[in-house]
Symmetry: C2
Subunit: 707 residues, 2 copies
């Protein structure tokens, strides 16, 4: 798959010259389209058609083969039938061309193309070339007129140049998004259709463009990746750079996932892991075209809010209430303005205007050329309680003077400011263009405006969280411990699982593993009543289902009786199960939570946390983090589930020991990360969280090894 070190693709996107193998005189054929695209949009590099059948194509000298193409030639575009491609790649390698765009189809994407795919991969490997494709729509750099590919979008003359890159796994769809986004005012530089990714993967491209200073926003249309761990790293790098990756991910099935045993593994489906990556890295998830456009516009205002406190200023009460509602729904807040601000507002607005947030300057703005309205915006933006502001557009003759005075007044203001354009985009279109050219994004609908602001806030917040994580020098809560793990794969018994977890300081209930005979001989209880009695068997990971658990045993007779019964149940459930003994343990109590971890084949170790029982299974109130992580991060996890108040104190009930729970989560994350080579899955379920200061205790645990 992809190289683990970052590929330098600068020349690929900014070539001095490009050879087109399969170039054609027929503009309908792909080989003809490519010539037309590279000669129409101002590309300044050399274009070398390669086709033994012609002397010239479209007035360009045509070469019989790649070997005869003048050097340096940075990129070759291959528009031949698939079967011819591997040989051409080999020739290009010999000719010293470093990069290839293979448009041809008929490889891994079709039933009978696997062997051709293998040949192509071998050719790439032996040639030392880097390739995008095959089966892709090509690569473009709209800022230089370099359009190397085919299809409808690249032929659109009005594609707009700008600081946004698009990397798409679906060429047709992703390029279509680009053409729409350009129509709505977003400008792009690099467009890459990644095709089958038989060499360069989507993430190679994302990694490259993310580092380019001329790229301010990376947009990605993604169907999937197996490089989960690398995706996490890219998300961290995006935060480090303060540059957002707008990600539009489709496909909610998790291909290739191995069969799973634990409860946790069932809760950790592929889409959940992608969501977890996106939620904590420098990604902004987008879900539709407008969404992508709006979020791009908002980021292109080039200001991030210091917090979630938004001031709303309108000339219509209805619009103000609407924007306020939608801000709050989107996780933003509308704080009270300071008395000073309110006094200043009163001084400039008409008497019946409202100086409270959302500020209603009233339609009287139409009588004063929006002067009071414009001043109100500046006053609100200077309020120390406000991190960002949203206002509605004006209309009519006074709109342009208002916009000009506003831009003047906004100089030096470091808080993000978005305008919700209140009418059709063609109403005072010149004002709209003027505002956007001067760094004030105008967004077409109120809910879209508040959403875009929320995305700015979310990214800014993640950026701050990342800086805090970076600044923390928390030592590991427990050093790496050697584990005495048996050879082979599969589940371990409960007693054994808990012993191993104890090595990392994960507390479990007091228990004794006894033989059936030892239980028969007991003359007093091995631990204080009430007790739980269970079968210890690696072959019966789901004990309740098998009927091999008895709880609340209150007497020695009952204990012996219970041991008899569960032995019989175990035999009935699975005749050949190896029985390692009878587990006698103390009953525990507290709030029941589940802590689990899996080692995902693509994303690596990940820890899952939620409340017990139906909260996780039915209400899906769980959260995930990639391991390892520290206690602070664990606390964030605890607080982000919906049922968190049950742990932090709810309706007068005492708070639980959240600190001990957070420590346990961090310990579990270290356990799985340290032993990712052997531990496939683990469940601590239930873990009882006791009142504050009294710790946590695991009542059951299950560890599953891989070979």
């Amino acid at each position: 798959m992809a190289a683990s070190t970052r590929a330098d693709l600068t020349r690929f996107l900014n070539p001095r010259s490009i050879a087109i193998v399969g170039a054609s005189n027929d503009p309908v054929r792909i080989g003809g389209q490519t010539i037309k695209l590279l000669t129409t949009f101002g590309f300044k590099g050399n274009v070398y058609p390669v086709n033994p059948k012609y002397d010239t194509i479209a007035g360009l000298k045509c070469y019989p083969d790649v070997a005869s193409v003048p050097q340096p030639c940075d990129v070759v575009l291959v528009a031949l039938a698939g079967a011819q491609v591997p040989a051409v790649i080999e020739q290009c390698g010999k000719a010293g061309i470093p990069f290839a765009i293979v448009l041809s189809a008929g490889f891994g994407e079709v039933e009978d193309g696997k062997s051709l795919q293998a040949q192509l991969k071998a050719a790439i490997k032996s040639s030392g070339m880097r390739m995008v494709g095959p089966n892709c729509l090509g690569v473009a750099n709209l800022s230089t007129g370099f359009r190397a590919g085919f299809g409808g979008t690249l032929q659109v003359p009005t594609l707009k140049s700008g600081p946004v890159a698009m990397i798409t796994q679906s060429g047709g769809f992703g390029f279509g998004v680009v053409s729409s986004a350009c129509y709505y005012g977003i400008g792009f530089n690099y467009l890459v259709s990644t095709g089958n990714e038989d060499d360069l993967s989507m993430l190679d491209w994302v990694e490259h463009v993310l580092e380019q200073p001329e790229v301010e926003i990376v947009t990605v249309f993604m169907e999937g990746t197996t490089e989960g761990r690398r995706l996490i790293k890219i998300g961290e790098r995006a935060l480090e750079l303060g540059k957002p990756i707008l990600i539009w991910k489709v496909g909610n099935t998790s291909a290739g996932r191995q069969a799973v045993t634990s409860h946790t593994a069932r809760l950790t489906a592929g889409p959940e892991l992608f969501k977890t990556v996106f939620r904590h890295g420098g990604f902004v998830e987008v879900r539709d075209i407008d969404d992508l456009v709006d979020v791009c516009k908002a980021f292109l205002g080039r200001k991030l809010p210091a917090g979630n406190r938004v001031g709303v200023i309108t000339m219509s009460g209805g619009a103000g209430v609407l924007l306020a509602d939608r801000c709050v729904e989107a996780g933003l807040s509308l704080p009270k303005l300071t008395d000073d601000t309110r006094n200043q507002l009163r001084a400039v607005m008409v008497p019946y205007a409202s100086p409270d947030n959302p500020v209603d300057a009233t339609a009287s703005g139409y009588n004063d050329n929006f002067t009071a309205y414009r001043k109100a915006i500046s006053i609100v933006l200077s309020d120390p309680n406000i991190d960002a502001a949203i206002a509605r557009s004006t209309r009519g003759k006074g709109a342009m003077p208002w916009a000009e005075a506003l831009i003047e007044a906004l100089r030096g203001v470091e808080k993000p400011f978005l305008i919700n354009w209140g009418t059709a985009p063609d109403d005072n279109a010149d004002v709209l263009a003027y505002l956007e050219a001067n760094g004030v994004p105008c967004i077409m609908a109120p809910g879209r405006t508040t959403h875009a602001m929320a995305m700015l806030h979310e990214f800014a917040q993640k950026h701050r969280a990342w800086q805090q994580r970076k600044a923390r020098t928390t030592a590991r809560i427990v050093a790496k411990q050697a584990l005495d793990l048996p050879a082979g794969d599969g589940a371990l018994g409960e007693h054994r699982s808990k012993s191993l977890l104890r090595t990392y300081g994960i507390a479990a209930v007091e228990e004794r593993l006894l033989t059936p005979e030892a239980i028969e001989r007991l003359t007093q209880a091995p631990l204080p009543f009430p007790l739980a009695v269970k079968i210890e068997s690696a072959d019966i990971p789901h004990k309740t289902e098998a009927g091999v658990v008895r709880l609340n045993i209150a007497s020695l007779d009952a204990l012996k009786q219970a041991a008899h019964e569960i032995l019989a149940s175990a035999k009935k459930y699975k005749g050949d199960a190896r029985i390692d003994g009878i587990l006698v343990q103390q009953m525990a109590s507290g709030v029941e939570v589940i802590v689990g971890a899996i080692n995902d084949p693509y994303f690596g170790p990940v820890v899952t946390f939620g409340l017990g029982g139906i909260f996780t299974e039915l209400l899906k109130d769980v959260t995930h983090r990639f391991a390892p992580f520290d206690v602070e991060t664990a606390k964030e996890m605890i607080l982000e589930i919906k049922a968190a108040p049950l742990l932090t104190g709810y309706r007068g009930k005492p708070a639980c020991d959240v600190n001990a729970l957070a420590e346990t989560l961090s310990r579990v994350s270290l356990f799985i990360a340290d032993h990712a080579d052997r531990v496939a899955e683990l469940d601590v379920n239930p873990l009882f969280v006791r009142p504050a200061g009294q710790g946590v205790v695991a009542a059951d645990a299950l560890l599953i090894l891989k070979p």
Copy 2:
């Protein structure tokens, strides 16, 4: 407020002539704007300026007063300072003008306008006129060029005529929405800015336009209404007519709500009740401009799906997966196509196309002028497993022939079909216009397309549910019972509350109300152990909080001890509380639910249902229905909470007695509806739901009366 019988406003919206009081020669003044608007856009009726200062205005004969205006005059538009309005209204009444549009401000919306408001209301009442406003932007009928009002939107020359009506409580915002929606292709007939609603209310207008055959869709921008019960009726009427009301509601605070005591009342906030009305009536909630545009477009396709099964056809795998994802998220399903359909698809498509839903006809469509793609759409639409279809647009030279052949092929197809326009709206704009003119809505983004389809399905489903409710002839589960209710308001004790509920067949635990002395004298338990012991006092509605409950009492001594303790607690909690005795009751078990009801001042009686404890309080997993309702409706309620599997059987646990629970919900709804004049709130909390066949039993209940 509004009249309870429907006002006939036909002449208001289609006047033969209109008088303008306060007409002006100055086009900047409101009185001048109105003249310009009524003479510019083709209005065929007579326009009579009224102003004693002029002989003519804009070439029209000007009248000195309304009395001298020629008859018949159907509407008067008043553009005077507020203080002059009441007198003018009286004159108009005398002149026999039936309808008034009052643009003037300075009434109830300003601090010192209350007395003027009262004068205006009195003038309206004595004149017999019906009025829109004051403080509104006016009324328009875009199909006749009747634009009676002022402001930016009414001056837009490109407002589009069509079958959609807009009733807005915020003139500036709602009219702005209209101008945007026109830009995006939606056509309107009636526009009404309702202003202060001192006579005609928003609902008067909605009720009127809903009945007009030329109105196919009613859109409403709503800030609030006190006419909750009427809103419910309008929603039912919309279902009866099969005509959607697109409602955009802002304002999430519930003004004017009285102080509440019960748990249920806290769960029944104003926004929840509006949501309940919208969810079950002929409403479609819209939340943004695009949303309104898309849903209008989808309904203007004039076909409703028979179910939620959608076929998706694209020429790009990525787009297909995306549309499929979003369909499923929106509550639609992508069923398997029949073998017959798949065979037909295979016969027309290229070999590497996918005949499975989502169908990927592949980009090969660009080689056959989309012939196979067009056929694939028809084949999928004729699949009996499919209720509706979504396809992506095509582009380039072949797009128009494709569209023409498609429209031909769609003749007679009764299933809704939406196109997701895959590129910018100006790309093949003629094809887009052609498709829409021929009944195929083209929606601009994939998520917006699936959302619009989901709204079609939701409305169709509500329409079917309404027909089913209509067709059911279920008798009441219990006849109206007389209740022996004490005079005065406030809470009743638990025992008394339960006795009253028993009258309606609502089962409660066995219990005895005893005096403290009688308890002292007990020589054996009045009911089998274990027992609960509580204080019976109307003055202590929240018993747990007051410490006057003891559970799981297992002996006579413990019972006496408990009685002592809770008497002491009661005294400590509220020294002057009237103690009606000690309640001794059997312990109950089962799944804990809460059933409650309140009598909302605006919406009337409403029943709330949810699971006990944190499910309702923390997770807000509750549902509401307006009372009364039958057992079938109660079953729908039970199934629509997220935690429903806990009642219907979950992870091998037996199902609860859902039938008995549904009956109880219906009984509670009849109880509160029958006695809405006296019952303010009631809680049955907890109600224990036992395993199937074993019924339900209330362990506690609280009834709160109004005077």
